[in-house]
Subunit: 123 residues, 2 copies
Amino acid sequence: MSKRISQSSLKAPSFKRSDCPLACALDIVGDKWSLLIVRDLLFGRSRYSGFLDAGEGLPSNILASRLRSLEKAGLVRKMRDQAQPTHQAYQLTESGLDLSAVIVALVHWSRINIPGTRPSQIG
Amino acid sequence: MSKRISQSSLKAPSFKRSDCPLACALDIVGDKWSLLIVRDLLFGRSRYSGFLDAGEGLPSNILASRLRSLEKAGLVRKMRDQAQPTHQAYQLTESGLDLSAVIVALVHWSRINIPGTRPSQIG
DNA sequence: CAGTATCCATTTTGATACTG
DNA sequence: CAGTATCAAAATGGATACTG
């Protein structure tokens, strides 16, 4: 017998504490995984399994939850893979692409301020 | 009878998954509160009670935990308040100040991409 | 194989009461 | 004022099992 109630057993993080633009942004990407998924998308990964293999050990249930919340927030779009139509592919929307500036700023900060950061490669 | 073991009942978030500069940065500021505290420091707040009153309803135990981890990561310094030496004051280090670029990028993104964001004020 | 879902232990959170 | 302590609730992380 199959369970039919829950769309997913894992809920996305809560949403919108205030109208401060910074707090609003953090309600969407203020966690340890979302920007790493955006990073992967920027660097050409587009498949579920690709995100899982990215190296930081993102668990599959967390990945599913994050993809849902990023999609709901309009940063990511899911579609059929052009090259392999049997597969799904994720891609950034305009809004998601705009996050590259945030990622660049974080990487720049990290390079200067965190010792032991990898010198020449993101991802 | 008093408990004496725990320095604090609340632990700071875990640390350093990989050597990717983005992941390293997110291990430090990749949560919903740390950058809001940095924002407050940038905008002139410096006291524990000031952070609590900032408006987003940051709980005091989370604040204590975040201040500890930001201090440990070298972004924040605790000292005696110059004006009122009976009080403590927090201030950003150079490293913490450098995060302003990240905050600017996030606010800019938010203004463009999140409807309902407050038009003319951070904080 | 790609993608989801479920179970369960551990961590983190949020709210509030409490202490020096 | 500046934190700590307590505790319930929620999120996380792994492992694993299910579906098409």
